[in-house]
Symmetry: C2
Subunit: 431 residues, 2 copies
């Protein structure tokens, strides 16, 4: 027998897409290199819980190396990809390079401010662990500063929160924040009453959760109102400056003073998408996502797959798939299977997304669930959300811990992860 080198699959990104592609290749005779800038897989759907002090960062992160500890043919590489040499089938790292036989790009998306990057420091988005810890810091410091503020106008601004974007992340953040103020912080302060907060959820479209059926959007909006959230739809933010959010609703302009402003409105593909398009001639959509063929490859480059949030895949009717974990997971598994079939000499069938339903949670005891013909809201949706999300957490220890933490929060309405941390441990004076 001849000793031919194993087919080398390089996967860029250890999010849902990349992780599940590598897992699907576990028992396939290939060599896999999984590259990520971070040493952990992040369970992004629960990131808002870290941002509102309900979970610790370690609860929703899992070291990539420990996932593949027993898979000797899978190597994890902590590195940053800066370019791709398509002709030489080489991935260029910030500090080295790597050749591939098959390349899977699964680097996800970051947020964008629609041409107003100057808003970023004032209105942080929620994509990374560091984002979540920064938002947690701002939320809890706002209450601390309000407790010590004598001036009623300033105190009001400190107790006003504005969340821009009414998608799942915005809805979950607003609900979680409403619950924090109305139940969790009960008794914590002496000078202020946390239930007197004002939380704005600002959505440019006609309803929150635009990806859900209209009746569930209405139920979500109602549940948010019960948690003290002021929902404003058809409302576009036109300026964010020094704690003032200016917005337009039809012809009317309004502004609010909010010390804490959070951004969940727009997504943008990272620069590597454009780099890839330049080298391959692939088409990019409006937000910079790479348009892929029915088998998730770059047209003309069957050796390059693009999956997850970086890919635009035109689903049956021609509507692109949403940027959901479920889509990335199915695409990752598909790619693993496609590589296996090709090595066996077969042509893989086109990717088909099976919509298993959508779920969003709105604070304690409330959520919305959409499974096509079956739709429901309230406690059943909340429970289903809880179990589905915990089931999909990667490590078993994470599952147990998150479940214990959640059960404890549920019974006691208490939260242990309300730490204010960061470089300046005492930034109250500066704002």
């Amino acid at each position: 027998m001849q000793n031919t080198p194993l087919h080398h699959v390089v996967i860029v990104g250890g999010g849902f897409g990349g992780l599940h592609a590598a897992k699907a290749l576990r028992h396939v005779p290939v060599r896999v290199t999984l590259i990520d800038k971070r040493n952990f897989h992040l369970f992004q759907p629960l990131l808002y819980q870290v941002a509102t002090g309900g979970l610790s960062a370690g609860d929703i992160a899992h070291p990539l190396r420990s996932v593949f500890a027993r898979d000797r043919h899978v190597s994890v590489l902590l590195a940053e990809v800066v370019d791709i040499n398509v002709a030489r089938r080489t991935v260029v790292l910030r500090d080295g390079s790597l050749t591939y036989d098959t390349l899977v790009i699964a680097i996800g998306a970051s947020h964008q401010y629609f041409g107003h990057d100057e808003w970023a420091p004032q209105a942080p988005g929620l994509k990374t662990i560091e984002d979540a810890l920064e938002i947690r810091r701002r939320i809890f410091l706002a209450f601390e500063a309000a407790e010590r503020e004598a001036d009623p106008t300033k105190r009001r601004a400190l107790m006003t929160f504005a969340i821009v974007g009414g998608g799942p992340t915005g809805v979950e953040l607003a609900g979680s924040l409403g619950e924090l103020a109305h139940t969790t912080l009960k008794g914590h302060f002496r000078a202020i009453d946390p239930t007197q907060v004002t939380i704005f959820l600002l959505e440019g479209g006609g309803r929150v959760l635009p990806g859900f059926p209209a009746d569930l959007s209405a139920k979500a909006a109602l549940a948010l109102r019960r948690l003290g959230v002021t929902v404003r739809t058809d409302t576009r933010v036109t300026d964010i400056d020094n704690g003032t959010v200016t917005m337009r609703h039809g012809d009317a302009t309004d502004s609010v003073h909010a010390h804490t402003i959070l951004w969940t409105a727009g997504v943008k593909a990272p620069g590597l998408g454009a780099t890839l398009a330049k080298h391959t001639g692939a088409a990019l959509d409006r937000t910079g996502r790479v348009t892929v063929a029915p088998d998730l490859t770059v047209p003309g480059h069957p050796e390059i797959f693009v999956i997850g949030d970086l890919a635009t895949f035109l689903h049956q009717g021609g509507k692109p798939l949403p940027g959901l974990a479920a889509v990335a997971i199915q695409q990752g598994r598909y790619v693993g299977g496609a590589i296996k079939r090709r090595l066996q000499g077969h042509t893989p069938p086109a990717f088909r997304y099976r919509d298993k339903g959508s779920l969003a949670i709105i604070g304690r005891n409330s959520g919305v669930a959409d499974f096509g013909r079956v739709r429901f809201a309230g406690i059943p949706a909340w429970l289903l959300w809880l179990f589905v999300h915990i089931f999909f957490l990667v490590g078993f220890d994470n599952k147990v811990l998150v479940l214990v933490q959640w059960a404890w929060n549920y019974v006691t309405r208490n939260r242990g992860a309300q730490l204010i941390t960061g470089k300046d441990p005492f930034p109250l004076v500066d704002g």
Copy 2:
């Protein structure tokens, strides 16, 4: 009946001393203000577990506000004390001031480099959550960089760790690091073998754990050697420069190349101790600690108590009490009781420390315990350590979570909290 204002107790510091003083005043007719720079109580004895990826920050921190949520006469203030006006009985904050009837100063200690502050950036100490996360970042990045390093000399330096100081923190860090390398990281790397690490524990005195009996020090040293730790006693660090630790043992000088250097050698009282001494004439010891009277007050100022690591209390035989959580807890409780007795018109008896024993843990399954006549080591000491520490964790949710996490780590030898986080998420290239 006349409505006289309540006696106002101001406690500075929410560590073991301050927290237990405030708790002891729960049912005493006084008004309490607990001031801390941070919004949480930190369970410092487990900080080394955060530094080595065994626990999350949220597992060992508890929000001060939630501890006193039901005690309406206890206010928590997130503030920094910069001065004390003893004549006016006023605490000066960075942004305001506060008058007291009784003042309790319990601000703890920070680390010192014996006149070599230039070593600090290269050899971080372990006092705060931020310290622990920075050390965790350095440890895990060192393994990541070693995995990618082709040069054997550089790789050796990346896999060499030097811990300066053989007290409980140094011993526990070294043991935990040894265990991380020898069991937890099994299978995580492809190019390096983590069991090939070199871990130096450098102690200036004649044995590790100088606060313990000599036979237990010997057992601890043996347990450390089994975990692959090289223990060097009677060894003083004379220089730390660019990854090289120079040390002197008798007349001999030696140096090692260690990419990761951790400092657990010296403690120093914060500046507020000197400020207080200046205003009251109180004596300071060599490390800046305030010498207190038998009732833990500043001589001549019965309204000012100093407790915990900031205080030097000459115990019966004249030997100062060690800087242990147990000492601070007993002193905090004593102060609460003393204030109560005074308000009832009695004079409190002098403080007496009851030594309930000392415990230190050395990796998995091993520890040393000293209870005067009863001394033991190995698994029983380890189990006792585990339960004593978890029992003293402040919040019930923390106890449950830490116990679950520990049980899980114990069974699987796995760790979920190995995140590399921080401002620069990808600092490999820079070092």
